[in-house]
């Protein structure tokens, strides 16, 4: 195959990768962008999720103090979990079990312990994530087919990146001489825009497509019961290790703050940003947080009666493969280093959405013309000629 026809082929592949599904790709990109900053959007819309300081010198409460404050306000509720969000401007996310059978997330002020509000029935954060992640298709048996549908887009996205770089010869020159011609018509503008935003988002498209493809692999592994996890299976607390007590008197558990203190002494570097209280009398208390590597969590399962650390799952326990695979999700969502990383992810998410749109516009403007010409000449000349002419114009333009 000649060099020219080979590059033509690359170009055709690049043009066709997203085109037949452009709208689906666009919506997945837009909802993904929204999902990155969904928590921030809720923060803007709902004052109940904000962690306002009652005074300038207010100190955050300990976990036990939070539970006590909740118990004072709502004596009958049972605290199931407390999560301290990474960013200090968010209220604590606490799951409460109410006597009427509800088990809901509430927003608790980290300085006063006041329940500021109950999460609404329509959870914007969860909804955008569900829409982006699995197209709202329910999980009934293993992964939902919506999950496969969305995560499979990782492959054409990766292919678009590679073919795009092959087609855009000497693309690195675009970094030095950025071109964005505004006064030469829409077709030229969108072409320049597509190339310029493309080269500046190489890293982002690579991250999103590779991590997206990982979600596909994850589903395939999961649905075939293949596990690569080193996470230990936690046995329940043995019957003889749970103290018996008088009828109607639950066996006393140690204070939550003490349990965290014991675990922190036993496991240096274990930071606690979430606690899950025992799920029944034979279940452990789970605490966890980020370690030195911000993309992964470390956890410890603690016997709530003695404070003994039954099982821990630390960074040092992870295999090299797990460092790669467990980093995939935070790399995809940008949820690992505070607000600025989220904003960078959201910005490039928007750019990626615009690339889908500009790709479509280029295609319609070019192909609409080519089709028009072809239809006009359909009696005289083969239609291919016009399409090929348009194609050549397109390819030379990018290489100026």
């Amino acid at each position: 195959m000649s060099k020219k026809s080979r590059s033509k082929l690359w170009f055709l592949v690049h043009s066709w990768l997203a085109l037949p599904i452009w709208f689906f790709v666009l919506i997945v990109c837009v909802t993904g962008t929204l999902a990155v900053v969904s928590q921030e959007i809720v923060w803007l819309a709902n004052p109940e999720i904000r962690a306002s300081k009652p005074s300038d010198d207010a100190e955050p409460l300990s976990y036990d103090q939070v539970i006590n404050a909740i118990k004072r306000a709502e004596p009958l509720v049972i605290v199931q979990s407390i999560i301290r969000p990474d960013e200090s401007h968010f209220a604590l996310s606490v799951t409460l079990s109410y006597p009427d059978g509800r088990s809901v997330e509430v927003y608790v002020n980290p300085y006063t312990g006041a329940i500021q509000g109950i999460s609404p029935a329509f959870d914007f954060k969860q909804f955008t994530r569900a829409l982006h992640g699995w197209w709202l298709v329910p999980f009934t048996n293993g992964f939902s087919w919506g999950w496969y549908l969305v995560s499979a887009l990782g492959l054409p996205l990766l292919a678009s990146l590679i073919t795009g770089l092959v087609v855009y010869k000497r693309f690195w020159k675009g970094f030095l001489r950025p071109t964005l011609r505004i006064r030469h018509g829409a077709r030229i503008f969108w072409g320049d825009f597509h190339r310029l935003s493309g080269i500046w988002s190489i890293w982002f498209i690579a991250v999103i497509s590779i991590t997206g493809t990982w979600f596909l692999i994850q589903a395939i592994l999961g649905d075939n019961q293949i596990s690569i996890s080193s996470e230990p299976i936690v046995p329940v607390i043995a019957r003889e290790n749970v103290p018996t007590s008088a009828p109607g008197v639950p066996a006393p558990m140690i204070a939550l703050d003490d349990a965290i203190e014991i675990a922190s002494q036993r496991i240096p570097g274990l930071e606690t940003s979430f606690v899950f209280l025992p799920l029944n009398a034979y279940s452990h208390l789970q605490i966890g947080g980020r370690g030195w590597y911000p993309l992964m969590f470390q956890t410890a399962q603690i016997n709530p009666y003695t404070g003994e650390v039954a099982v821990s799952h630390l960074l040092s326990n992870r295999s090299t493969l797990e460092f790669v695979t467990e980093s995939m999700r935070p790399l995809h969502t940008g949820d690992f280093g505070g607000l600025w990383i989220k904003l960078i992810w959201a910005f490039f998410g928007l750019v990626l959405s615009m690339m889908v749109l500009s790709g479509l516009l280029i295609w319609t403007k070019r192909t609409a013309l080519a089709t028009l010409h072809a239809l006009k000449r359909s009696h005289k000349a083969p239609r291919q000629a016009a399409a090929v002419a348009a194609l050549q114009a397109e390819m030379t333009e990018g290489n100026q």
Partner: protein, 178 residues
């Protein structure tokens, strides 16, 4: 290049050529169609619509009792470990402090050690994933075992047909495997 395209296209074909690549807009019908299901599931998980899709009734267990519900009003779901049925329950108001643990099993347990699967959760809302063998007889009983903090044990039962008619329908559909 098909021969049809080369000839003067019919209006229908022109519309198809113009719009074929926008047909994927129809994929938007998928999340729109699943929206009611998504919202109903969200309410079910939060407990806004009660402890389960179908409340089976009260089960008396010695001095205590619980309200048993099917989390979903459907037959067991496939699982690598065999078909599983998820039940939810809430303890009676004055036995929440009394009961240390609650277990669920098909057929009467011989001892506390064989009491079945344990419920996870709070006394207000707890769940247990019950294995349902495909050869379970349709007249089977579901046994609830409760353990007090002092070690006392009480048992009670409910007919599987009352606890989950959908599971009976599923069993009948499976037929008895040889």
């Amino acid at each position: 290049m098909s021969k049809v395209a080369a000839a003067t296209p019919s209006p229908l074909r022109a519309v198809w050529l113009k719009w074929r690549f926008h047909l994927n807009v129809l994929l938007l019908l998928v999340p729109l169609g699943f929206m009611p299901k998504y919202l109903a599931d969200a309410a079910l998980f939060r407990g806004d619509s009660g402890i389960g899709e179908r409340v089976a009734g009260e089960v008396q267990v010695g001095p205590w009792s619980l309200t048993l519900a099917e989390f979903r009003n459907e037959g067991p779901r496939p699982d690598p470990a065999g078909p599983m049925k998820f039940f939810n329950a809430a303890l009676c108001a004055n036995c929440a402090e009394q009961v240390k643990a609650t277990y669920l099993r098909i057929g009467k347990p011989r001892s506390l050690r064989a009491a079945g699967v344990i419920f996870f959760g709070t006394p207000y809302r707890m769940g247990a994933l019950l294995p349902v063998p495909e050869r379970t007889p349709a007249d089977a009983e579901l046994w609830v075992t409760m353990e007090g903090w002092d070690g006392t044990m009480h048992q009670g039962s409910i007919a599987l047909s009352q606890a989950s008619p959908a599971t009976i329908a599923w069993l009948n559909k499976q037929g008895v495997k040889p």
